[in-house]
Symmetry: C2
Subunit: 315 residues, 2 copies
């Protein structure tokens, strides 16, 4: 894996390696846990769900991806004493909402993309109408599933309400739905645009994922604020790196069509600030994410490891 | 208003008239209350919501309609002692979900309709991409708004969870999202098709609206079952009448393009059973809806009045 950040090249010490090895192991474990959970979920079936709708939802849910949002949710819950099994219904909600937003973003009327995670996009395979409804159904399931499962796992109703309130606002018109409109419009002033798009299109959901996990475990206001700040900086760094990779990567590396931002004249960090400045902004946001962890209780090594990993990624 | 049901012609007694007058007044009052609430809601605005998205959502929310789902929700709540102001955030959720589903159903990839409630459909005015996102955002708001507002109005979190769980499952893959797939596919055996479409596309949301209202007021299992049954029969009758009106009405009367069901070879009640039988099935379902009210406490005259009103409607 080649690093995007030259200042880091050749600077990996043995202790860094062991820290990274530890993070990499934890991340692989939690991704495997999430993948098993998603497979089990997709195997369940109600006779009321039309087979084509079920197949279309399962296709996109099982298409892979980093499982970043559910991992953040599970680790946020773990930090406050809620083990994976109990937090899983909420963690899955974030993957369902993320998947729904990708299905809709890829539609011909939106970004018109035929390739996602190296596979045909949902509407290419199932048709536009089913893809629209699969996205809608996944959004509904993102509420239906935790509202059915979390009470049975003994999570207090006021924590469920509080967590789902944050989830809903991260999805809604001031969250990723609004972010996607901004991304398509590009009508704002150029300096503000990439920050606001990063915040509303990406950071808001990462931030909600880690914070709601902690809410299930009864995190207080201070801890919630720290995790929100962590998620916002992490998400902004993530979006900056995405903008960079859209310029520097091949379709094979990326699993989706590269170069689309420039072709669509999108106001990305690279377009607004240039490549050099975008790289340093990504480092800065990553450092701010790690700093936000300082006042949290317990072991936050996974979260700082994730911040480093995401800025170093090449996909 | 000409009646669809010949057996009723000339049979209206003075006491019927006064019962209907009473229902008509109550329905007009509650619709005015809902309309005022929706206008106030659309007037609120977060700076994070892009103006075009806000305008697109407000356009469809304010486009009129019978406000049937929020009225059912408010009346269900009232039956169990929750006044309109306190139940309104949940009632509005049902109108938001209904509106979102109409926006998406009208898209070119779905029913491709340019006229709804006598006005241009959302995508005709705002473009497909914004229409898709306005639908998504309204679905998210349908959870965000009650999750924010209901706790502040002193509704217990376990009742909020229980009500939203039913709302979410009415929207999801075994609810109206699944119903729309069935409606487009028409792959089922013909006798079962219209019943299942009526149930999943229409009845499930009417049933959830009235039942969740009652849940806010602490209705027991028995009362919930009665209201679910009422809503299911009411919704089925409503769909049968819709199928009939698609054949018998003009665009002006209907506010949308008539004759589309036949043009799209949809398996409606009229297509499967013929007009005569469809009319008698609508009467039958209306009678079953009224019967389901028998064991409920309090004054259920509004609900029986609504059942009669909906089968007699010409729009």
């Amino acid at each position: 894996m080649k690093s995007l950040f030259r200042k880091r090249e050749g600077e990996v010490s043995p202790s860094d390696m062991s820290t990274f090895g530890n993070f990499a192991r934890q991340f692989a474990e939690i991704r495997a846990f999430i993948d098993r959970g998603i497979e089990a979920f997709c195997g369940e079936s109600s006779p009321l769900v039309p087979p084509r709708l079920r197949d279309s939802m399962a296709y996109s849910l099982l298409a892979g991806g980093k499982r970043l949002r559910p991992a953040l949710c599970l680790k946020g819950a773990e930090l406050f004493g809620i083990e994976g099994e109990r937090a899983f219904p909420l963690a899955l909600s974030f993957e369902m909402i993320h998947t729904a937003s990708l299905i809709h973003d890829d539609l011909p009327a939106m970004d018109d993309d035929v390739l996602r995670r190296g596979k045909a996009t949902n509407h290419v395979l199932f048709g536009e109408a089913t893809a629209i409804l699969a996205g809608d159904a996944l959004m509904a399931l993102a509420f239906e599933y935790p509202l059915r499962e979390l009470p049975e796992k003994g999570i207090a109703p006021e924590r469920i309400c509080s967590a789902l309130s944050l989830l809903a606002s991260a999805l809604g018109p001031s969250g990723i739905c609004g972010g996607q409109v901004l991304d398509m419009d590009g009508e704002l002033l150029s300096e503000e645009t990439p920050w606001r798009i990063a915040r509303q299109k990406t950071a808001v959901l990462l931030s909600a994922a880690v914070t709601t996990g902690a809410i299930l475990g009864g995190a207080d206001e201070g801890a919630q604020a720290s995790l929100r700040a962590y998620g916002n900086h992490l998400g902004t760094a993530f979006q900056i790196v995405d903008d960079i990779l859209d310029v520097t990567s091949t379709a094979e590396e990326l699993g989706k069509t590269p170069g689309k931002d420039a072709a669509q004249k999108k106001k990305t960090f690279v377009a607004v600030y240039g490549m050099e400045k975008a790289l340093s902004l990504a480092s800065e946001q990553t450092a701010l994410a790690v700093t936000a962890l300082e006042n949290l209780p317990g072991d936050t090594a996974f979260f700082s490891g994730l911040a480093d990993y995401l800025t170093e990624r090449t996909f």
